[in-house]
Symmetry: D4
Subunit: 221 residues, 8 copies
């Protein structure tokens, strides 16, 4: 078989296996979702094409697809599992696809969220205008490309973990996101951790785990 599903993952890890849609055919995606669908109320397929979405919808009518982030998701269990609020901050308009991937992942995993968009540090007052929102978060996801200075500035303003996502936005020395990645890894704020370039899903997933009441697990996983 082309896929060995990890059926114990919801029990072991708190959420069922998330499908990486990037190099799978619509048929492969639909087949995998079909096998997971009976066991888990909520499901995620990252980097899904519109064609994959259509193939999945034929068997799972509750499936939704976000065109900006290309996230495909099923959310039948809408219980709120998170204690506090997760705030997703992004530096520019072009970081939105990654920011939305993080945001929707948090929501499908049962969290209340707020999106603060286009508040890069070149115009600092934009970010400072959201200080209250930032300070009420239990955990923050910070999405930025280019030099990604936003992560350090946000990190320095709050007392909670900041999950930083470098994006591939930029050109030349942006190096497809490596300038942002290095900036975030070297943050002078001590509360910043980092995930892979453009990995909004991973950031949202960890934010959801941080925000989860200890001992709680996804209902039917």
């Amino acid at each position: 078989p082309f896929a060995t599903l990890d059926h114990g993952r919801a029990l072991r890890q708190g959420f069922p296996e998330v499908v990486y849609g990037a190099s799978k055919t619509p048929e492969q995606v639909a087949a995998i979702v079909g096998r997971l669908y009976a066991h888990h109320p909520n499901l995620l397929v990252t980097r899904a094409s519109e064609a994959a979405y259509q193939a999945v919808q034929a068997l799972a009518p509750e499936a939704r697809w976000d065109a900006t982030s290309r996230l495909l998701f099923i959310r039948r269990d809408t219980t709120r599992y998170g204690i506090g609020r997760i705030v997703v901050v992004c530096a520019g308009t072009t970081d939105l696809p990654v920011a939305r991937e993080a945001l929707l992942t948090c929501e499908v995993m049962g969290n209340e969220t707020t999106l603060v968009a286009d508040v890069g540090v070149a115009g600092l007052h934009r970010l400072l205008g959201h200080l209250e929102t930032l300070r009420q978060a239990r955990v923050i996801v910070c999405v930025a490309g280019m030099e990604a200075a936003l992560a350090s500035v946000v990190g320095g303003l709050v007392a909670v973990p900041v999950i930083a996502v470098p994006t591939s936005v930029g050109y030349g020395t942006a190096l497809g996101g490596f300038a942002a990645l290095l900036g975030m890894l070297n943050s002078c704020a001590p509360n910043v951790t980092v995930v892979n370039i453009d990995n909004g899903f991973g950031a949202g997933y960890v934010a959801a785990l941080i925000n989860r009441q200890p001992g709680i697990q996804e209902s039917t996983g």
Copy 2:
């Protein structure tokens, strides 16, 4: 003045400014600690030399210094601020300095901790023998050099966040920790986030924030 102290940091971030000892003279370290000492019960100086430790002890007799990690710390407030337990796992004997830096940071910030050492994946049973310990953690810090496969294996066994610290252990293509860093950033386990190479302090700090009861802040900061 050579230093502009950030006195509001304990209030704003939940812990006072941590001193980076690497390129400061013993006199500079002692001067900075002296100015922070009156305001904060607990303090951290990373990468401190033994000479810096002696200079600090002259003015702060409670100061302690861990020779393995070179962490200098003062812990006058021993309140437990963390809800659950933080487990620090490391792959080899040579990763111990970084693992201890993480462990002590967690303890100074008011957490109960467990260290699981030398359980690299080439002998998997060593890790699996600690499965219960891993499953009882609220958050795990995973320290590994060389190929750092440990982070993915640990990540796949638990339902909590794993803060991964690549170490500079290895030679040749280990690239001073970059092989480990890249491995951790590309982990197929979705609950892994990463900090800078050899940054045990940063990992411990974030683990402490994750484990902290929302709303709680360091007593006198």
Copy 3:
């Protein structure tokens, strides 16, 4: 002439020259295969297009083409030259093209093979479920992208050589396979050697040589 064929290679190296199909026209591939076909019962063309396959079939009707790996092969001699069994393990569905290139290379060179697919370390029980298969191998080919932790885990479970193939699966810091390559080169398991990124052919070729009875050579080469 555009090509200087190495007719002694089967005698000298145990298998005839393998054609690198990547930047050759269908006509060039067919011309080269035509010149080798009279001397060697079994032939391999890697990274062959479907058009090259059709051009070859016109002169060599036994030619076969695997769409997943794009391997073109002729297997007229089906003698079993290998002593033991070669097991090809891969981490994810998206590693299958490379895994199949390795598998088919082994088979055309006269070996019995087993494929174990989609057993990445994030769900360790999947791999451990195949422990018996792994332990019965004379040599293992391990194919993985992203952080490629599978190679170290497999290496630690067996007493035979593991030929590791990093794949270009992943994004961002996966660096087109370099993260996996570095992980495999730094494996803490001592029985792992490595070939070029996506080089399933090379891994299969060496596995076949290891599994070959000393002194045995391909029949008519």
Copy 4:
């Protein structure tokens, strides 16, 4: 001869040739300074050792040496050539050697200067407390290591050019200053230009040229 002095440089470029002291013997430095000394009132030797300083002082008693930056300089002409004020900002205590190299270069070239030290973005209020100083500058030199977010934040607060100097402060993924360099080159503030890692001299030199009244040149060069 081991050195071909560029005697026209003061006329052509507005300041005499600056000696790169890094790999010259004290004797070589003294010989070169000796040949320049008769023609130019002010001189600079970068990265000079204390021994070079002593050799130079024997023939030029006005020579001064700054131990922090290792800059050796002669300032016999103290005319003010600059129109406005040059502000040098640095992120941390460990950036001071580079910041002082910039500061002193500006001063020897006839400028009024201000140093604002240890105002990294993790404690933003420290920088914002100097807003008036920043806004009164004709040009700013911004010195920072690690992620170097300071350059973007400063750039966004003022309407003048910011010359950014990445420093080699940091470890691991700081890559000896490359993380800071990439951050500065990708700044989202449009008024930032960049010089080589640790090149405080170059930044100060360009700042002095920007601040110079058009048409004015160093007196006797």
Copy 5:
């Protein structure tokens, strides 16, 4: 909203927010320009498509678009704000798109400019034939790809700041502009500062700030 405009930027920085057109739809670009248009006489959109140009023209008939540089601009205020002349020099014909982006940015910001094109150092007399032009500049923008030796040669001929722009022109070891970038950062001429690869806009912007009479700001910003 997908965009948080920075309306204070003209006052704070001397020119309104410049729109990065690279990954925005024509509708997004037009919406943003529409919101800025009422407040600022002059506007810039970099890397704009022809379709974005058409969408903007519908609401701002004074908009112009340069096909070579893909710069979209509105110049209603033609006051001369610059004191001296800005000279843009480029090494080859293929550097022209970047050179024109710099040139037009300077002009929209109120400067007199001269373009000196295709004067690479392999035929030095071409550059030396423009010596008078170079010497009359208040600031020079130097655009070059491949080895970018032009920046050092130009830097050595004048007493004013040289803003160097590496371009992605070249192949193989040109590394998409990194060879040129490194060359410019290591220039032995002390008056060279550098911006991102292909960033003609940034170079022109800083050149305009350098050439601006202190205290002067864009009229209605």
Copy 6:
């Protein structure tokens, strides 16, 4: 004007300016060739498209175009300027475009040449079969991709200069020609020098200069 032609180059350098065709329109190429054509009997345009060839032919009917290397050339002066013979050796069939660019450059510059193709070191006897040809060369151009071991082996067999050209042939760790480049730069044979990846033209040009009788220059340049 978009181009500043370097008309003195034939006199100064022994051959007229060679046009880099890569990013020029057919009209630009034809315009430049038109201006050079009256002064120089022989001309070269590298990386020319077929459309550029057609545009040139309309004004210069002697123009020829080699489809493999995309070299466009005019050779009206067929005098033999070279003293000895230039041998171009390449490792594989896929290196032929670069090898032919070198070969034709040598011929247009007045040299006798021999091409030895597809003699990579994995089948050493192929190369050794051409030992006499190699030993009679005055200079050798060696073209190879992948690990480029051919350059060292050829270098060790002869007493003349070897100009090595790395090619971008290969995948994964071939790094677009960097593996070959590094191999050639570290050759243990002392007579190997290197040019840019895929730069057959440069290698041919230098080979022609080496082979030229001292004092001789292209007739009408």
Copy 7:
């Protein structure tokens, strides 16, 4: 405890855990060897200092130490486990430390070996003089720095696996062994696999596994 020994390794992997001596104190090395010594007749400690050797000898008088490779070993079981002969080939005198590490590892694991030293490809006849030796090997370890062309040439001459070890010999573009590593990974000979830079131990270990009779395991492991 600082070390969790993997006592099952000899059974599971065919040889007991090999100690990585690089960053362990003599006391740590002796303590670990002490615990392994009772269970396994043969032991290896790589990169051991002379002091570690002396500490070990106090408790294990059979211990030997090779000053060139710094390998510390105990060989009480001298049974021959290997079927054929293992040949270790190295390119230069300076590669000898790595070559000897491979050679001794093979011997301690029960193999007959031959060393062929200083036969780099710049003088091909030196290697060809050993053709018979090479052709009689069951497996070859090939050690080379600089451009490492030796691996491809050796690979092309034999029908057995070649384990290639890049060394850090060389300077500048040798990049501490990366030029050699890339050369070996891109070998045009299909029978070459690669281990980490300077990892003679790993190469010898795999060679021993390849040469081992299937089913045979180290006596008392």
Copy 8:
């Protein structure tokens, strides 16, 4: 034996094997020189220590050692083998060790030479003052660190081959000579070829081969 001397090299390559002294003991160097001394009048040992020089002098009193370049040489045959003159040009004082290695290599191989030192392009008139010297060369060796623009400028002034040697002079983004290397490989002058960083020996060797009358070989080699 630790060394397999290549006694045929003088006949085959025109000069006896050159010893790489970098990691050999004085005894090893002396032993090798001793074996070559009887067969060849002239010998070279690169990167030799003073101790190696003393060991060699004991058996070969004609040996000389240049402290700047650390080249050890024996020159008993002083016949002039070169036709024209070789000019070695270097950019700065700190490039002299490499320049002298090239110069002395040329001289020991029987060539007339000229050294032009410290003529970097920041003061162009220094180089142009030597135009006649440059134009009379049969071949030029150009040595430069930092951005190495000198190679392109020199290349554009002459009609002969330029062998460019990047040096490791510089700091930060000089990357130990890689900035210079990339600059030289991307030279817009077509007559530039490149050798390894700091490889003055290799450049001198090739220059000598170019300057040698065809057919001539070192007398007794």
